[in-house]
């Protein structure tokens, strides 16, 4: 393999690894479950995408044919990461897990849990939103 290609792969690998690491650091450092969700949903997608891009380049050159299934994995991750983040957030809300004190808009948590429209929002476009009970 060419030297410049090897360096490119190395750089992409390092960048991907750094984002994965930052995602994990975020998981440890951030104060509550809601903020912790942000690390894995974003940093991991980009981190894994970087690793897979490197893998795609390497195997394309090693096998002499273009290897695309890494891109499919990235695509699946892009589809599934927000869904799992959403499910975790939902579960946290339904268990009533507390957010850290300085979180704004905490009154929305209870309404979100009931899946009711928010009350007293001024930005409403549909002011006729009725307060439904589950």
């Amino acid at each position: 393999m060419e030297f410049w290609l090897e360096s490119l792969v190395a750089i992409v690998l390092v960048i991907g690894g750094v984002f994965l690491l930052i995602g994990s650091i975020g998981l440890v450092r951030l104060p509550d479950i809601y903020t912790r969700l942000h690390g894995p949903t974003k940093a991991t997608t980009l981190g894994i995408a970087g690793l897979l891009l490197a893998s795609s380049v390497v195997s394309s050159f090693a096998e002499g044919s273009i290897s695309i299934h890494e891109w499919l994995i990235t695509l699946f991750l892009l589809i599934t990461a927000p869904v799992s983040a959403n499910m975790i957030a939902k579960t946290a809300l339904h268990h009533g897990l507390p957010a850290i004190e300085r979180t704004k808009g905490q009154e929305l948590m209870e309404q979100a849990n009931r899946q009711a429209p928010p009350t007293g929002m001024t930005t409403s476009l549909e002011s006729d939103a009725k307060d439904k009970q589950p």
């Binding site: 930052i22 809601y34 942000h38 974003k42 959403n86 905490q106």
Partner: protein, 167 residues
């Protein structure tokens, strides 16, 4: 069971094509056996699941969809760097917040795409949707001005999505 104008043999032609391509890509091959298998899956799976679907969300403007995909990819990159800076910086300065975004988009696919985009882009994760499908609850990692952020998210993602899906 199927609407009149749909073919009984291939109820979802677009999905069939997608399945066929994805199967071959996943196996990284063009071997005859795999092509046969892909053809079978492309025919059988849509036939099995076609009775589950309701409504037909379609992409009205593929060109805009491509532009939207590129925009989201760019935003994911920016989001990553922003979140990385927040995570590594002093944490007592961040102001997490819950907000409710009013939804104009109606279709299931539209809401799903919008909520997923929100989750993948700068400092926000969708948490819940109201029962009447008019509000999306979002948790933001750091927020100064909720009004501004709602306006931005709607203009940047919801407007193009509505145009793409034609609803």
């Amino acid at each position: 069971m199927f609407p009149a104008k749909e073919s009984r043999f291939l109820p979802m032609p677009f999905h069939s094509l997608l399945l066929f391509i994805v199967w071959l890509l996943l196996n990284n091959t063009l071997a005859f056996g795999h092509i046969l298998l892909a053809l079978f899956f492309a025919w059988a799976i849509p036939k099995l699941v076609s009775m589950l679907k309701h409504g037909h969300p379609t992409i009205k403007k593929p060109w805009l969809a491509l532009r939207y995909a590129l925009l989201v990819m760019k935003d994911i990159l920016v989001a990553n760097i922003e979140v990385a800076l927040i995570v590594l910086g002093p944490l007592n300065k961040i102001h997490p917040s819950f907000i409710a975004i009013p939804l104009d988009i109606k279709s299931d696919l539209g809401v799903t795409l919008f909520a997923s985009t929100i989750s993948l882009t700068p400092g926000t994760v969708s948490t819940e949707i109201s029962e009447d499908r008019k509000w999306l609850y979002v948790h933001a990692l750091h927020m100064d001005d909720p009004e501004q952020m709602i306006k931005e998210a709607k203009e940047r993602y919801e407007v193009p999505l509505k145009e793409i899906l034609g609803c």
